[in-house]
Each structure stands twice: as C-alpha cells, then as structure tokens.
Amino acid sequence: MNKRNFSQNMAFGMFWLAGIVSVLIMAFVVGYIMVKGLPGISLDFFTTSPRGGLSCDGGIYSTIVTTFYMIVVTLVFATPLGVGTAIYLTEYSSNTDNRVAGRMVSIARFGVDTLAGVPSIIFGLFGYALFVTAMNLGFSILSASLAGACLIIPVIIRTTEEALKAVPAGYREGSLALGANRWETTWKVVLPAALRGISTGILLSAGRIVSETAIFFVTLGGSYRVPHSLMSGGRTMALHVYYLAMETRAFDKAMSTAAVLVALIIIMNLAINMVTNKIAAK
C-alpha cells in the first residue's frame, strides 16, 4: 500500500511540476518581452510611423493600420467561405436527397482536413506564385489577404462547425416542423443561436492574422508606409518585429513592438474567453 501511495505521490508531483512549468514558461516569455519592451512604449510610439531606414526611428502607427487592414480584408474573404462550408458540412450533410450529396460532403471534408494541415510557408509560396506573380497583384494587401485567407478558412470552419453542432437539434426540428426549409431554418434559427460561437472563431482567426509572419514575409512586401489601397504593400506588426530584429539597428524597438503584439494577443484571448464563458453560462 505504501508503495502504491509513493508512486502516486511521485506521479502527481510530476504532473504538478508540468502544470507549473507551463505557466512559468508563459510568464517568463511574456514577462521578458514586457520588461524589455514596455520602457520603449509611449503615446508617440503608437501615433508615429516608422522612419529613418536602417536606424528605424519612429513608432508603429503604419504597422497597426496595416495589421488592421489585413484582419479586415482577410476576414472578408475567409468568413463567408468558412461559415458557408461549415453550414454545408453540418446542416446539409444529413440530407438524404441523393448519393451525390453524400459524396460531396466527404469530398469537401477531405479538402478541409487537408487545407488545415498545410504549413503557412506553403501558403506563402503559393500566394507568391499565384497572387503576387501569376495574377500580377504584386506585393500587396490583396495578395497577402488572399494567401492569409487560406490559412484561416480551416480555423473558421472548425469553430463554426463546433458552434453549429452545439445548437440543440430541437431548434431545427421546431423550425422545420413549422414548414421552414433548410435554409430558412439555418438563417433564422441556427445561425443566430450559433452567433457567439462563430464570433469566437472569427476572433481566433483575427489572432492568427495578427501573429502570422511567414506568409506575409513573402507576399506583403514589407513597406512601412501607411497603405492607401488594397494594392499597396505594407508591414504588419509581426512582420515589423521580424524586420526590426533582422534588418535594422533597432533591436529595442523590436522588443517594444513585440510587447504591443503580445498585449494585443492577451486582450484578444480575454475577449474570446469572455464570449465563451457567456456561452457556457447560457
């Protein structure tokens, strides 16, 4: 009996350690970035654009603007496709109309699963080959958003599917029994009920765009000017960190930008948790 207790205590000690180490890693990474980065942050840092070439003076205003554009444009491309796919896969997959529909579902499912496994540098390579070069869109917000959309479509599909599956079957039955067709049921009852879940998916995707570097490194160009159209190149905050760390003399600015980036991610995570908790509370 003592032996059993001993091994239990040993094992549980290891588990406690694992949990604590995970938190410590987070605290260390975030803490280090914040300690090194925060001193360089002032209001000016947010309101002025980078300038001065190699020395990279100024703040990160234009990179905030570009990041915002990237989020919006990418979501505009990805959200309808992602939500549409999720609706098809969850709401229409049980349709017994014919065999073709069933086959379509499994084909579509294969596409989604494959897409979810593609590494981001491949999206970058693909975006560079198709959008930047072949379609002649150049290094631009448009090229980068199209490539970025490929990255987040699977994220939106997965979260939307989960949200739709969480909608009680009774809602659908109730609506269908009143003579609504599939689409009316989906649009008027299922989607509104799943809205919170879908919005966490969209927030999550926005987070992915904020964090992504590899794709934009090869499709966005990296101009640190404020973009003025979809065809402008630009530099997101994450890309700015890379440029600052790798191409300029302004290492401290890289830390400050990274600190802003991490703070933004923390805020987004809090928002997601708030939305999820509200769903759980319902």
Binding site: A134, M135, G222, R225, H228, G233, M246, E247, R249
Partner: protein
C-alpha cells in the same frame, strides 16, 4: 443557379486573365491618383532601408510624391522592374548577364556603393588579416584564431545565405573560386549577422557598411580598414554597387526621384548612412 455558374466562370476568367499578366504602359513613370504620384520600389532588403530614408527626405521636398518601398530581394527587384510590376527594382549586386538577356529594356542606375566589411566579435584580438587569410577562414581551412596571430580559440564563421547580394558580392570579391564553409552559421539578413557576430565568441562574418556599429569589430584587409574614405581612395577592395533598375529610361516623378538620389542631397544621405557616394 445560373447566376452561380456565371459567377464562377467570371472568377475563373479573372484568374486566367491575371495569369497572362497585364501589359505595362511602356516606361517607368509612377502611378498617379488623386494628385499624388505613387512610385513603387521593390527588391533588395539591403537597399530597402536606404531607399526608405531617401523617399522620406524626398517627400519632404515634394509632398505630391509617395514612394512605397517593399522588400523581396535583389532578384525579385530586377524581375519586378523587367515585368513592370514595380516602377523601380532594387538590387544590391551587379545585374546578371542572364537578367539583361531576359529583358534588354532594363536600365541600371547605380545610386551608391557599399563596402563589405569583415567583422569579428569585439573580444577578438586580431586587427588585420590578408585577403588570402580571409579566403581560408571563410572556406574553413583556417579554424583557429591562433593561425592568424590571435589568442587560441575556435573560429565560428557566419555568413549570409546563398543567393544574397551581399554574399555573392563577397564571393566574387574575396572567395574567388573557393566556397564558403558548410559549417558557417547562415543568417537571412544583415541585422541577424550583426547580432550573431556581436554575441557569439570567436565569430567572424562579412557585413554591409551600413550595418557597422560598435557591437562588432571591423577588420583591416590587406592593411586597409573598411571605411568610406579607404573605398574612395581605392585601398579597400571589397565593394559592390547598390542599383536601382527601371524599365526603359525613367520619366516623370520616377526620374525626378532618381535624380534627387544621385544629386547632392541624396548622396549626403547615402554618406550619412555609411555607404559610399558615387
């Protein structure tokens, strides 16, 4: 249903059209919209920061011009100019024969010269090496600092990656036919090289003049320190051109900006950034 099919055909058509490429307007002149002329500049990440600085100074003089500078690398720069997807391409190396053959219309404007310095970790007590020693160090034949007159300690070579303009210039000018050691740490940018050299004991690398600072120790090669004066005087041998490439002779705002760069004010900025004026 019909509408869906036609939308799909439309989209497919759009893709194909894009794939065929749009013909440009003939010369590099910038794109005007709403009274602002936009000049798109694409290419070498070495030239990028300099071009950004030059664009900011120029916009202060002529606020109707907006220059957007994107990276992508020297080859992308030349290609973008040749295919007219950008008004100006940047290249931190000589333009290759093959590139001129592919597009004879391109015009090369050298805007500055850049020395490539050999730099070492500040703790290294060697101040000077010969060209021959440099070759042997970077090719991996010399592996200890004692072999070049310093305190014994392993040499760690760092280098830019294959294809980089800085590396190919360094290979042409220093390495002759010898190859840079496979053991070298490869970093994808000058900034990363500088950080590597500054923090890695025993490290040696080559670095564009623009990136020199007190964190790294520049080495004299054949008796000449890597300074702009020595380059101008012809005593420092490792130098490459920084180029802007246009499709045909530039006109309009593009020409004016390039004139500004090679003019007095532009060259002053070039010199202030550590590069060598032409």
């Amino acid at each position: 249903m019909k509408r869906n099919i036609s939308t799909m055909i439309f989209l497919a058509g759009l893709t194909l059209m894009g794939a065929c490429g749009e013909p440009g307007d003939g010369t590099s002149a910038g794109t005007e919209s709403g009274g602002i002329v936009e000049i798109s500049v694409v290419g070498s990440t070495t030239v990028q920061p300099l071009a950004e600085l030059l664009s900011e100074s120029y916009e202060a003089i002529d606020p109707n011009v907006l220059v957007t500078v994107s990276g992508g690398g020297s080859s992308v720069g030349v290609k973008s100019a040749a295919e007219q997807t950008a008004d100006i391409g940047m290249a931190s190396r000589e333009i290759k024969e093959s590139e001129i053959q592919d597009c004879p219309e391109i015009v090369v404007h050298t805007i500055a010269r850049d020395g490539i310095a050999i730099v070492a970790n500040p703790d290294i007590d060697v101040d000077e090496i010969t060209m021959e020693q440099a070759r042997e160090i970077f090719s991996g034949e010399i592996t200890d600092w004692s072999e070049v007159g310093g305190t014994a300690g392993m040499i760690t070579v760092a280098s830019r990656e294959e294809g980089s303009g800085t590396r190919s210039a360094f290979e042409d000018l220093v390495m002759n036919d010898a190859l840079i050691s496979e053991m070298a740490i490869l970093q994808p940018s000058n900034g990363a090289i500088r950080t590597t050299v500054a923090t890695t004991p025993g490290c040696i690398a080559f670095l564009s003049f623009g990136y020199l600072d007190s964190n790294t120790k520049p080495m004299a090669v054949d008796g000449a320190l890597p300074t702009a004066e020595n380059v101008s005087a012809g005593s420092y041998p490792v130098v490459r051109p920084l180029n802007m490439v246009t499709y045909g002779e530039p006109t309009g705002a593009v020409a004016e900006w390039l004139d500004f760069i090679v003019g007095e004010d532009g060259q002053a900025i070039v010199a202030a950034e550590g590069y060598i004026p032409i």
